[in-house]
Amino acid sequence: MKILFTSKSQGMDALLDPHFGRAKGFILYDTDEKSDKWIENTENLNAAHGAGIQAAQKVIEQNPDAIITGSVGPKASAVLSKTNIKIYLTREKQLSEILAEFTDGKLELL
């Protein structure tokens, strides 16, 4: 399965970015291949308006099964709720640690 994290930097040692729309970037983690891919989000971080909606579109294009972030705004939630992607909320911690919690079923589903 593919899990998308909002992240402050590259690699699974990075810290979770608590923002969704204005996250620094996204990390797409593939649990089968144990690989992680970095996706920049500069254009939405710098957008005056509509960061949430545009980030949601960008994320959907990556086709993840789950999203793990700190908070999702009303407009991004409205877009994401039309998909089958599951959203989990957690705090600003290392992604590898969050992944372990996710695997143990300890994360809260939005």
């Binding site: 923002h19 957008a47 005056a48 308006h49 999702v72």
Partner: protein, 290 residues
């Protein structure tokens, strides 16, 4: 560090009057941020003197390269905001009207129009007369507040609070429930909803609560001008009860609010009776967020 954001939905319900009063009570123990970048005013009442200043950029502004321009006038015909002016057969962008949409850049046959980052104002870090450090900004004429600007002020303030080990960030939010308000709520620990007993005050409060609920952030409510419309007040109280929102306090309509502003004082500096009421409310907020 915990962030407490004061919001109302409807403007003029008493957000800033209360935020500045809380600032006077909290002194250096609380850090302040003013997210109402559009019409920032906390710094006026708190006589903030800035020690740091930066330029503030948000959105775009079109620029015409006069050497490349062939005066076809396509941009002027197509601009939806009438932001392009013609003078002596040359075309100019009026930066106040330009919304930065980029349509003109797209239609220019000579690629003479480029979008550049719009400088919208200044960002400041200041000391207030109550020894709080205040993060705020001031926009140029015609510039808009945006989620980007709010999140920038927030990020800087939070960073400072972490570095200086200040436990509380008290933020005065913008009116409305749009982009800047959404950015204000993002990452906050507690929201204080200031409402008034008018139909629009109550209606906006419900919209704001919906927004805060989306983020699952706990909130409390202050009913200002509580004795103006008792029927609406009953409805507000019912709503609070039904939605499990704690009532932080009720403030009767009081002329000290406008009068204190006129004299550049906080409400609790100006009116001793109000000071008692406001102190009780602040202690409730403080205790909730220990």
């Amino acid at each position: 560090m915990k962030e407490i954001v004061i919001l109302s939905g409807k403007g003029g319900s008493g957000k800033t009057s209360l935020a500045t009063s809380f600032a006077a009570l909290g002194k250096e123990k609380i850090l302040l941020a003013d997210y109402d970048v559009d019409a920032a005013d906390m710094h006026i009442l708190l006589e903030a003197k800035h020690y740091k200043e930066e330029k503030f950029y948000s959105g775009f502004e079109a620029v015409i390269n006069q050497e490349k321009c062939i005066q076809c006038g396509n941009c002027k015909i197509l601009c939806q905001f009438d932001a392009i002016e013609e003078k002596d057969n040359r075309f100019y962008i009026n930066p106040i009207d330009c919304e930065g949409c980029g349509y003109c850049e797209m239609v220019c046959p000579e690629k003479a129009i480029k979008m550049k980052d719009a400088e919208v104002g200044n960002f400041y870090v200041s000391n207030t007369r109550f020894k709080n450090v205040l993060f705020h900004a001031k926009l140029n004429i015609g510039a808009d507040n945006s989620g980007k600007l709010v999140s920038y002020v927030k990020k800087q303030a939070k960073k400072y609070a972490e570095e200086e080990k200040i436990d509380y960030l008290l933020s005065d939010g913008p009116p409305g429930v749009g982009c800047p308000a959404i950015s204000s709520v993002t990452g906050a620990n507690y929201v204080v909803i200031v409402t008034e007993t008018s139909l629009s005050g109550f209606s906006d409060m419900k919209r704001l609560h919906e927004l805060v609920n989306n983020f699952k952030i706990p909130c409390g409510c202050i009913i200002n001008k509580a004795d103006l419309n008792l029927k609406v007040k009953e409805e507000i109280l019912e709503y609070l009860e039904k939605n499990d929102i704690s009532l932080l306090g009720e403030i009767p309509y009081n002329k000290s609010f406008p009068e204190s502003i006129r004299q550049l004082k906080t409400v609790n500096e100006y009116d001793k009776n109000m000071a008692v009421l406001i102190k009780n409310i602040w202690e409730k907020i403080y205790k909730t967020n220990l």
